[in-house]
Structures are given as structure tokens and as C-alpha cells.
């Protein structure tokens, strides 16, 4: 009984995670500049991966796999924002942004970028 429920909840998680991954991909394609794209590449993508992992965990249910899945989740959470920041920073520094789409830019007001 519980196994059946876990299977179905796991399946729902897999579908939801896949849909979020799809939305993230559409966002990366459609958003106008790199900075907006990194939003799509972090938030829905991370949650999508977490849901996929949860779904896999609910269907596999073995201790060996749970440890591995936990590790993947932890590293996903720890590394995705860092990767997004590096790409965003590179995009900003090389001027690949659409200033017409910006309401404010306090980083430019800071003055010459000396310190990092």
C-alpha cells in the first residue's frame, strides 16, 4: 500500500520536475539578455532537479541510492548559484546586457571596478 503511494507520489514529482526543467529551458531561450536567462537557469532548474531527485528517491527506496541522491541535491544547491553568479558577472563585465531593459544599475554607479 505504502509502496504504491510512494510510487505515485514519486511519479508526480518526476513529471513536475521535468515540466520545471522544460520551463527553465524555454526561459533560457526566450529571455532577452544573459542576466535574465541566468534567472531561468537557476531557480526553476534547481527546483526541477530537486523534484526529479525526490521522485527517484521515492521510487528506488534503497539506502545506497538515498545517500547519493542527497549528495547530488546538496551540491546542486551549493553550486548552481555560484555558477550563475560567475556567468552573470562575466556577462556584466563584458557589457552583454541590454541597458534599455534595466530600471536601475547601482553597480555602474559604484565607480571604476577596482576591488573584487
Amino acid at each position: 500500500m505504502i509502496a504504491t503511494i510512494a510510487d505515485w507520489v514519486g511519479a508526480a514529482c518526476l513529471v513536475a520536475g521535468a515540466l520545471l526543467g522544460l520551463a527553465a529551458a524555454i526561459g533560457v531561450l526566450r529571455f532577452p539578455d544573459p542576466l535574465s536567462r541566468m534567472h531561468a537557469a537557476t531557480k526553476p532548474q534547481v527546483l526541477g532537479v530537486l523534484l526529479l531527485l525526490l521522485g527517484i528517491a521515492l521510487r528506488l527506496r534503497s539506502r545506497t541510492d538515498l545517500g547519493m541522491i542527497l549528495l547530488v541535491a546538496v551540491f546542486q544547491l551549493a553550486t548552481a548559484p555560484v555558477a550563475a553568479q560567475m556567468i552573470g558577472r562575466a556577462a556584466y563585465r563584458s557589457g552583454r546586457l541590454d541597458r534599455d531593459l534595466l530600471d536601475a544599475d547601482e553597480l555602474a554607479d559604484r565607480g571604476p571596478a577596482g576591488s573584487t
Partner: protein
Amino acid sequence: MTGPRPAAPDGDAERAAPRRGRLGRWRDQALALGWLVVVWNLLWGEVSWANLAGGLLVGGGVLLFFPLPAVTFAGRLRVRALVVFAVRFGVELVSASLHVARIAVQPGYRPRGAIIGVRLRVRTDLNLALTAEAVSLVPGTLILEVDRDSGTLYLHVLDTHGSAQLSIVRERTLAVERRVVRAVGSDAELRLVETDPVEKGTLP
């Protein structure tokens, strides 16, 4: 920048960090080694003596050959605040994901953005890193640049509608910082965050 900076004695003292001494460094190293051993065992999928020994060997090698600047942990873990942080983080991650997913598939919609600087009140490396990570995954914001000396995070805000919303984002970022400090900060840092409701974190 004129006037006195907001006091953050802990931040400066810790960054210099010679006075914490050998014992604190050994404790930090031991914690790092313990974490690496746990990771090693999880990777192999089972806890056994061979894996513990292998983990110690590999972890020791990693710490020896890839030394990192020490991240000093001066505070203490508060379990309740940690749970509050985790739950709020989960809720915000879900709402952020749905928000971005929605504007991603909305036909003909071009989101506007803004880049703002938010000055954090606690300027330790640990707080900067944790807050930056958490802020990247909560609604609407993404870290662009970290100014470590002044403890300022520069954020890209997606889908803005005017400047009123920007101050909301500032306050939300500072709220994230408050939850981080409540969970892992020291008592002095906690006072700094709690007794400073006026400071909106705006740049001069």
C-alpha cells in the same frame, strides 16, 4: 561613503583572525575532514571500515594539497532558527521557480530588470556566502557581484515594476540575511541584525 560605517567588529576581527589560534584552526580542519569522510562514504553508498579509511586518506590529501582560506565559524547553530530558515527557503524556492517559469512561458512578455546594491550588516565571509547563495534562489534576485570589503551584494532583479518594488527586494534580502544570522551567527552579529531595523541597506 561618508560617516562612520555600521559597526561590525566581528567581521574585521575574524578576517584578520590570527588570535583564534591553533585550536580553532585544528577544529575547522577536523570539521572539514569529517565532512569529506561523510561525502566519501555516501559516494560509495555504504559505511565500512575500508570506506572510512579511504575517506580519511582522500580527505586528508584534499585538505593538504588544496588548502582553502579558513572560514571561521564564530557563532553557534540554533536549531529552531535553522528550521525556520530551511522552511522559508523551501517556500521561496518554490514560489521563485513558479514565478520565473510563468514569465518564461507567457507569450509576448519582455521582463524588465534592475541591478541594485544591498549592503549587508554582518560582513563575515560565511554570512556573505550563505546569504548570497540563498538570495540567488529566492524570488526575483540573482547575485552579480560581491564587494567583500564593504559587505555589499549586487543583485540583478528580474521582472521589476518601478522603484517601489526595488525597496521591497532590498528588505527581502536583508530579511534573508537576518534568517541566516539567526541560524548560524554569533550573539554579537545577532544583535547587529536585530537592533538595526532603520538601516534599509541602501547605498549612499
